[in-house]
Amino acid sequence: MNEKDENILASRPEQIRYAAILEKGMYLGLLVLLITFVIYVFGIMKPYIPKDKIPTYWTMGVHDYLHHAQIKPGWSWLGMLKYADFLNFIGIAILSGVTTICFVAVIPVFLRNNDRLYAVFASLEAAILCVAASGLLSVGH
C-alpha cells in the first residue's frame, strides 16, 4: 500500500484525538475502580455501609435505599470519600466523565478544519453530558 492510500484510509485528526483521550481515560478509570474495590473488599478502609448489611439494601428500591441508609443523591458522595464504598465512585465518575472530555477536546480540531457545524454538535453533546452529570435532573417515584 502506498503512502497516498494510507492517508486516505487513516482516521481523521479529530477521531485520532478522541480515541487517544478515550483510551487514557478508560484505562485510568478501570485502574482506579479496581484499586478502590480492593481497598473496599479487603477492609483496608472502613465502609459507610458495612458489607454484611448490603444485602439488606440492594433488594430495596433506590429511594428506600437512600432513605434507610441516609445517603443523599447527586454529588454528595464527594464528601464521603473517607469511606471505602464511596471511594469506588471515583473510578465510576472517571469512566462516565471521559466522553465529555473527549468531546471538549475535539472542538478546537473541528474549528481548525473550519468544520463549524461539527464544532457546534460537539459543544452541544458536551453540554448534554454535563447536564446529565450535574445531578440537576432529579427523579421521583
Partner: protein, 321 residues
Amino acid sequence: MSKQSKPWLASVLLFFGLFSLTQPAMAEQLANGAGPGASSAGTWWFWPLLLLAITFLMGIFAVLGGVGGGVLFVPIISGFFPFHLDFVRGTGLLVALSGALAAGPGLLKMNLASLRLAIPVALIASTCAIAGAMIGLALPTHIVQICLGATIIGICALMLVSKKSEFPEVPKADRLSSALRIYGIYQEVSTGQSVEWKIHRTPLGLGLFILVGIMAGMFGLGAGWANVPVLNLMMGAPLKISVATSKFLLSITDTSAAWVYFNQGCVIPLMMVPSVVGIMLGSFVGVRLLAMAKPAIIRWIVIAILAFAGVKALTKGLGIG
C-alpha cells in the same frame, strides 16, 4: 463430536449449571437471611461472587452471540437475582458503558467506527437516553418490569427476523448526509480492498434513534441490538462500520443515562465492580473461543436465554413469577 467444539460446549453446560444454581442457592441464602430485607453477616460475598461467575459466562456468550453485555445482563440479573431493578439497570448501563469504552479507542483508530456518523446520532440518542432514564426511574417498578419483558421478547423477534447486509446498496447519499459529509473509506482485511461507504435515509434513521435512546435509558440495556439494524439496514452503512460505530455510540448514549442512574444512587459497588470485571474477562475469553465456536448454535442459545429471561421479567412484573 470434534475436539474443537468442546470448549464452547463446556461453556454452555457451565452457563446452564450456574444458572440453575442460582435458584437453590438463592433459596439457601434466603433461609440464611441474605435475602430481601434481611441481614446476613459473613455471607455478603456470596452474591458478588456468583455475579462475577455469571457475568463472566455472559461475557463469553455476548461475544459469541453477537450481542452487547447490557442486553443479557438486565433481564437475567433482574429475573434471577435478588437485586432491585433500579440497581440492576444502573449496573447494566455501566457494564455496557465499560465494554464500549474498552472497544471504542481501537475501533476509532482502525477507522471502523465513524465519529462523523456517531456525533449526530449521539446528540439525539443521548438526549433521549436521559429522558428514558428519567421515565424509567419515575415509573413504578412493576410497570418497567413488564415493559422490559415485552422489549426483551421483541428483541428476540428482531434477532430472529432481521437479516444483516455486509455491503448494503446505497445508490445515492441523501442531502442531509451529504451536507454533514457522512461518508468514509476503510480497509476490508479479508480481501485487502478499500471499501468506500456512504449512507441514505438519514432523517428517518436519526428519527428512529429517538426510540432507541429512550429504550436504552429506560431499561439500562445498552442499545447495540437496535443501533446495528438502524445503521446497517435503514441507513445503509456497511456491516463492519455499523457494528463498530454502534459499539462506540454506546459509550456516549450509555454515559448520559448512566449519569442519571449514578446521581440517583442506583450504583452499589459490590454489584457493579464484579459485573464489569466478569463481563470484560468473559469477553476476552469469548473472542478467543470465537474461532472454534459455531455462531449459529450460540445465537440460538442466546435467543432462547433472552426469551426465557424476557418471559421471567414479564411474569415478575405481572406478579405471577
